[in-house]
Amino acid sequence: MNGSFPGAASAQAMISPAERLRLTFGGGIPGTVAVAVVIILLALAIFGPLTNMLLWTVAERWYFPNTFPSQYGFAFWARVFKPTGNAVVSLKYSIGIAVLTVGFCLALAVPAGYALARLRLPARSFILLIFLMPQAFPNIPVHMNIARVFYTLNLHGTVPGVVLVHTLHGMVYAVWIATAAFSAIDRSLEEAARDIGAGPLRTFFTITLPAAFPGLIASAIFVFLESLDEFTGTYFVGAPEIMTLPMLMFRAGMEGNYQIASITALILLVPSVLFMLVVERFLRADVLANVGR
């Protein structure tokens, strides 16, 4: 976009090399090399820790002072994935809780998002702000006190208790993205359906909901990942009964069992990275432009 005009390049060639270096920091050869070196160092800093984790997932023996594992293999994978293993139980807990959280969040967020996008609510922006509030406070004290309340309600250490905590964190994504998805729909489609005699409910289920579907899928993915990766709330409200994958990873890591911790970390990592690669497909620009409005 910039600097790619042929005229600009020839104009630069007429000034002295030192001047050109000063003008185009990062554009001259030494500058470009410097920037390239910095980017390579950045890549090492980003992927170094991940590489270390990947090595641990296939390291059967790795002792000081060896830089790399002395024996590779998948013995720990077999141990993690044996049907009676902790990881399989944790995986079931994690996925089950994430699915329930998505269902609960969307059941709350679809009506709320529709109302916020379509009906004239007073204090609309204030209501949207309320859903952001849980992200605006350090949440350890909140989790601590939820746990305390849940003890008295017998919700501590139960799946519904953990789903409720995960729902709290998923709500901002669910409501904000659902609102944006409904806002982005062309209103004339709904009006046309009403004109030819469809009732409000029929219009909603045959016109509005299908049109908002990609946006709702995006919000469901956000909520799913938020639940899958949630640690602090589960630590306070679910432990030790509800061993989700992050809890299992934490325990294995703290016990120094780096193979188990790294394999679990990899299982958690895959959905996150996949999502990063496809998010832009689901979150279309017209929906994205409406987030928070």
Binding site: N2, G26, L50, A115, P122, I127, D229, Y235, S272
Partner: protein
């Protein structure tokens, strides 16, 4: 109230109820609990919990503030440099490489980041191992980074992409005519970045940093897994106070202190933002 408004509230009410029960109530509870002590059968307002919190954890409070200040400064600097190069850089290959590269840690969970760093930064971790292989260190002269530096490195590694994403987005949306005008007048890129680009994206940078600081103040896994030393972050001490002593009162006092730290950051930044906006007009 018209019927449309009424049905609108009915549709929003269940979602608001969840926020009320799961957030507003526990938050209020934590504040009330921090400021009261049991006096026989009755509760009375007291600062005793705060006296105890400061008595035991003054070092940890200072540690938390320092870690936040260092991490936020590094994140701001990194986001400006990366966003600035993506916006102003001439080399299309390098800008594209940087754009693809920087966002990788964005969706990686904190707990996974902590586990990666726990192995990578250890005394015998891959980082030191590679430095030894390259001959830059000897096996006996390596030092681990699993202390306050490890916490800062992990926070920056994890939060830099988020802040950069927002800042680079704001930079991309800037009116390019002022940038092109400054370039025509011979201004260098660092100067354009510092004097034209950064002031205009300041509001976005500030919001992103405040959100980042709140996130870092909420993370338990990183300080627990990276550094077991004392002093440590307030998050760890709150969890410890509850798990080891069932002492909710002191833990909630620490919680209120952590609200005050983030609240002060938000307030100072917002006030500065308002003052700047006022001057500009």
């Amino acid at each position: 109230m018209s019927s449309s408004r009424f049905s609108g509230f009915l549709l929003v009410a269940p979602a608001l109820l969840v926020i009320g029960a799961m957030f507003v109530y526990p938050l209020t509870y934590s504040i009330v609990d921090a400021f009261t002590v049991e006096d026989g059968e009755t509760l009375r307002v007291s600062l005793a919990n705060f006296v105890r919190a400061f008595g035991f954890y003054a070092d940890d409070i200072a540690f938390t503030v320092v870690i936040m200040a260092i991490s936020a400064s590094l994140i701001a600097l990194g986001a400006i440099l990366i966003g600035g190069y993506i916006t102003l850089g001439d080399n299309r290959f390098l800008t594209r490489a940087l754009r693809v590269l920087y966002r990788w840690p964005l969706f990686i969970p904190f707990i996974v980041a902590a586990q990666c760093m726990r192995t990578f930064l250890a005394k015998n971790g891959l980082m030191n191992g590679v430095l030894v292989e390259l001959g830059l260190l000897t096996p006996m002269s390596t030092t681990g980074f699993l202390d306050w530096r490890g916490i800062v490195i992990t926070f920056v590694w994890k939060q830099l992409p988020f802040v950069t994403l927002l800042v680079a987005g704001a930079m991309a949306a800037l009116d390019r005519s002022t940038i092109d005008a400054a370039r025509d007048l011979g201004a260098s890129k660092p100067r354009i970045l510092a004097q034209i680009v950064v002031p205009q994206v300041m509001p976005t940078l500030i919001v992103a940093l405040v959100l980042s600081i709140v996130t870092m103040m909420s993370v338990l896994s990183v300080p627990v897994m990276i550094s077991g030393h004392s002093p440590t972050m307030l998050t760890v001490q709150m969890a410890f106070r509850v798990n080891a002593y069932h002492d909710y009162a002191t833990a909630n006092a620490l919680g209120v202190i952590s609200y005050l730290i983030t609240g002060t950051v938000a307030w100072v930044y917002l006030r500065r933002g308002v003052a700047k906006g006022g001057n500009a007009q």
